[in-house]
């Protein structure tokens, strides 16, 4: 492999990994606060639509990005209301939101762009370098900030405490509801960032292709830590890029390369690195004064 191909692989791989990594970081924030968010997939899809829609409407990519982040947060807010306020099962809400997001994006696409399955071309785009959307580089500072916020700030400590032991946190005067809303809303914002790397030049129905679920796996694989989640996302992304770039050159059937990261994730989760431990109250609604 010559240097040029190697560089292509490095940059293209980062481009493929970044959307998964952003969503996985979102998953970390949400689950650290005690809310499982399997609606990352829907959030990514809807945000990906929103960034195209917003860029065209506001004639600016940055406004489009801001719009996508806000839409991602608004979408996540539904999850927060349903699961934190109404204490509905979090997976159930996530399943419903994934169906809803797909429907709403297609419905809006039909009414705005006249086509149900794809949007118009978006003339605004981030520049690319060797096949990489340069916004993917934002992953590096965002990962560092996420680590810092979760581990070195009062907010992060509070967020983690309501995910581990909401009763104790409540006794200490921490607002469990507020913290959980924050965690879920941050995951929505991350879906917006993920969309900024994901979209090519137009939105296409189903373009997320299960990346939101892969992000969830990456989060668990990375043991609910921001850096771990990003590293796991890189593994998934680079394996997938290898499959696409070197499909014709390698002897093993491409489908085996395709399944490799998933098999690896199962094997690793299954025992090589010990039990991955979720936040203790992850997935459990908090009932104040429950007897």
């Amino acid at each position: 492999m010559d240097l040029s191909t190697l560089l292509d692989y490095v940059f293209k791989g980062l481009d493929t990994s970044a959307p998964i990594a952003f969503a996985a970081l979102g998953g970390v924030f949400s689950e650290k606060s005690g809310v499982v968010n399997i609606a990352l997939e829907g959030g990514m899809l809807f945000s990906a639509f929103s960034i195209v829609w917003g860029s065209i409407a506001f004639h600016s990519l940055w406004w489009g990005l801001l719009f996508a982040v806000i839409i991602g947060m608004a979408f996540a807010a539904i999850h927060a209301v349903v699961t934190v306020t109404y204490k509905v099962n979090q997976i159930v809400s996530g399943v419903a939101l994934n169906i809803l997001a797909e429907g709403v994006a297609r419905f809006l696409s039909q009414n705005i762009f006249g086509q149900e399955t794809q949007s118009a071309m978006n003339p605004y785009a981030f520049p690319t370098y060797r096949g990489m959307n340069i916004f993917a580089l934002a992953l590096i500072p965002i990962t560092a900030i996420s680590w810092f916020v979760l581990n070195k700030t009062v907010f992060g400590l509070r967020l983690r405490s309501v995910g581990e032991n909401p009763e104790a946190a409540d006794t200490l005067g921490i607002n469990v509801t507020l913290m959980r809303y924050s965690g879920v809303l941050i995951s929505g914002a991350m879906c917006g960032l993920s969309a900024a790397v994901l979209y090519p030049s137009r939105w296409v129905s189903g373009m997320t292709g299960g990346r939101g679920f892969i992000a969830l796996a990456a989060m668990i694989f990375g043991r609910w830590s921001p850096i771990g989640a990003v590293l796991a996302s890189l593994l998934f992304g680079y394996a997938d890029t290898a499959r696409i770039m070197f499909e014709s050159k390698i002897q093993i059937p491409s489908q085996f390369v395709q399944m490799f990261p998933y098999v690896l994730a199962v094997v690793v989760l299954g025992g090589l690195v010990g039990k991955a431990r979720a936040p203790a109250a992850d997935g459990l609604p908090y009932e104040k004064g429950e007897d």
């Binding site: 109404y86 099962n89 169906i99 809803l100 419905f107 149900e116 892969i214 969830l216 085996f256």
Partner: protein, 364 residues
């Protein structure tokens, strides 16, 4: 027997409220899009109940949806989120198809054999996630999502590679060899015509319908008449309570999870054995996720899942009706399906809070 009281009435109110509310939302969307509500209702009517062909199509579409819902519901009952139904029916369907292609048997034996093979395939594909959950505590949502992706790649490889039967039917689409005639599912449309329901042969009402009914009855019997079903339901109510009651939670969940996968194996029967007559990785996807939604709407009961599956099939036809005859896009069906689930779960939460308060009051 459970006494039918006002609490039961409250409990079934949530799905009804969800359905009515989402239909009203549909009407509002229709008006916003600038379509005449009358035209829209007419369009839905034309595609759903206007002719026996349409009604039969709803029944036919409901069969795989029902099986998907049943598989998800059984796992839910044991407090397991089987997101892996998707991969389980892709693998189960392939194993069933292989039994139909490579094992020559007389028809009376071949038909049950392929059904069982499909169940075994689904069960095997569930075994590892189930074992990992029970022995290592790894959340099934993650392992089953991984297994869905692995399954898709695996069947893609097998159908393109070792099991390829391209040329067998003159088709260039990647597919297996043709299933032996002894294992093909014939239609039972004549049976319906005999009782006065004029179902044309173009609608697939085949052996997968009685298989689905049988599966529903078996699930009901297991859940409500067998000891293991009691254990499953106890775990579903509360894992802690089940532990205190001396139930072997791990073993019961392992069994329930694998049985859910076996049920999932049946989902593809209609398409593989009645519609296509061969296996391809291009069989309808997404039924696993439909199944989860159907289980939720049907409150995880076999009867509820029947209604929810019929509702899903009705909505799908309604969507086609809107698409053909009005300006309302088909996607509106996904929108209201998502909303319907949210309304149902939030309403049932509010209802159960109300019942709790009511019971407290009555106890005093």
């Amino acid at each position: 027997m459970k006494r039918f009281n006002k609490y039961t009435l409250y409990e079934i109110s949530a799905p009804l409220i969800g359905f009515v509310a989402s239909m009203l939302i549909l009407l509002v969307i229709v008006i916003i899009v600038g379509e005449n509500p009358g035209t829209a209702t007419d369009a839905i009517w034309k595609m759903t109940f206007a002719s026996s062909t349409r009604t039969a199509t709803i029944l036919s579409t409901a069969v795989p949806e029902f099986l998907a819902g049943l598989a998800a519901a059984f796992a839910f009952r044991a407090n397991i989120f089987n997101i892996g139904v998707e991969g389980q029916y892709f693998v189960g369907g392939l194993v069933g198809a292989l039994a139909g292609i490579y094992v020559p048997l007389p028809a009376w034996l071949h038909l049950p054999f392929v059904v069982i093979a499909a169940m075994v395939g689904g069960a095997l594909w569930t075994a590892i996630p189930a074992a990992l959950k029970v022995s290592r505590g790894i959340h099934e949502v993650i392992t089953t999502i991984m297994f869905n992706n692995i399954a898709l790649a695996l069947v893609n490889y097998l159908v393109n590679g070792p099991l390829s039967g391209i040329g067998a039917g003159g088709s260039l689409e990647p597919q297996t060899k043709h299933i032996l005639p002894t294992a093909l599912f014939g239609n039972i449309n004549g049976l319906f015509r005999a009782v006065g329901w004029n179902v044309p042969d173009s609608v697939y009402l085949d052996y997968s319908l009685p298989v689905a009914i049988l599966a529903g009855v078996v699930v009901w019997f297991i859940l409500f008449r067998l000891r293991i079903g009691f254990d499953v339901r106890a775990i579903g109510t509360s894992t802690d309570v089940a532990l205190y009651a001396g139930i072997n939670v791990g073993r019961t969940q392992l069994w329930a999870f694998i049985f859910s996968g076996a049920l999932a194996g049946l989902i593809g029967l209609q398409e593989i054995f009645a519609v296509r007559g061969y296996y391809t990785f291009q069989i309808a996807s997404g039924l696993g996720f439909d199944g989860i939604a159907i289980a939720l709407i049907g409150r995880n009961s076999p009867i509820g899942v029947v209604f929810a599956a019929l509702l899903f099939a009705f909505l799908r036809q309604a969507g086609y009706g809107l698409q053909f005859f009005t300006k309302v896009p088909n996607s509106v069906i996904s929108v209201i399906t998502g909303l319907m689930i949210l309304i149902i779960v939030v309403t049932s939460e509010l209802v159960s809070r109300y019942i709790k308060a009511l019971r407290k009051k009555e106890a005093m």
